[in-house]
């Protein structure tokens, strides 16, 4: 049945994967050269040597290309971050380590970060990209997976409350992280990014009520 069952994919699948990657590469090159909004889908299609309609078969909107590129990077960084976690003593330090990991990149790529965060917010709620539904939801995204891992561990060890849905909790943290990053992107002089993240983690862990602030 399958022509190439050794590598696990046939010629067609391989070609699609290759073209997908080519589109991403071409698009990112154009984004760097001309900026994101100055680059049209027409140009990308032209440069990748496919029909415009074909390009739309692969990516329903321009933002989706940037998103997939960033996700690749993010997953890669997540792998590295995951390795460091074991050495850290508690949930707080693990969360801080995992969250702070990505900011060097964010600081270097503010425009792309904004585009991708906006796209993710939109799609995760309208979910009009059906293919990514299952992946995007929970498994695939780098930071998401790490946060989930940390919280799960914390819940198992009894450090974290177990009466809150893991999924929702992870979303809370990821979303708050996103908000802070965006606030910072808007006006990077108004606060220091990592400092604000630290504060957020403290709030999530201990809350904003003053009478149990130092209860630990």
């Amino acid at each position: 049945m399958e022509i190439d069952s050794i590598s696990g994919e046939g010629r067609m699948e391989r070609k699609k994967r290759e073209l997908r990657q080519k589109i991403i590469n071409v698009a990112m090159k154009l984004f760097e050269q001309q900026g994101f909004s100055n680059t049209t889908m027409e140009q990308i299609a032209e440069e990748a040597d496919v029909a415009r309609k074909t390009l739309y078969n692969y990516f329903p909107v321009k933002e989706a290309i940037a998103n997939e590129y960033v996700r690749g990077i993010s997953n890669h960084m997540a792998q590295e971050a995951l390795a460091k976690l074991q050495n850290l003593p508690d949930t707080r330090s693990r969360l801080l380590s995992a969250l702070n990991n990505a900011y060097g990149w964010v600081e270097l790529n503010p425009e792309l970060t904004g585009i991708v965060l906006g796209y993710r917010f939109k799609t995760s709620y309208y979910s009009y990209d059906k293919n990514q539904g299952s992946e995007n939801d929970f498994q695939e995204r780098g930071t998401y997976r790490i946060i989930a891992e940390i919280i799960r561990e914390g819940q198992q060890s009894g450090e974290i409350r177990s009466d809150v849905q893991l999924k929702l909790l992870v979303r809370y943290i990821d979303l708050l992280r996103g908000t802070i990053v965006w606030e910072w992107l808007q006006d990077s002089s108004s606060f220091e990014l990592r400092e604000e993240i630290n504060r957020m983690v403290d709030i999530v862990l201990d809350g904003i009520r003053s009478d149990n602030k130092h209860s630990k």
Copy 2:
């Protein structure tokens, strides 16, 4: 200088305000009849009896019309909610009261809620609607103002930590609220809306660390 300095606005300003309101009314009528995405800016312009370009002068995108309509309602509800707050004993009950206030409307208008929340997220971060920059930021929006009021009060009375920026804190809560509403809009059977909001408020107040969960 001013023709009508008694009412505070000249004929032109009044006409603009009236036209703006007419556009909103016409658009909302069409949205109800045909659905949001099936209604075009062309139709709205036609029905409001202005050129399409004029319509764009007033609202840069279709979502902005829905947003302004909802904001009107929201402000109105906020007024009522604000009155009730004084009778409530602590921050937790005030927050719950303020947040729960709006959900009857949300449950009745899921599509509109989704559209408006998505629009606000996008604009608040890209801030491409310059006019609303100052308003949208903090003052004008109903729920925002209430949450800010509650937190401020809590900080003054010592119930809430004072070492976190009020502005950011309000954004956290508003954003978490938005997330929950959206999760619920996606799949309203997965959890009960108010229940989840209650849980979120508890988390924000007391955090997710298990050893101070019941410290109060």
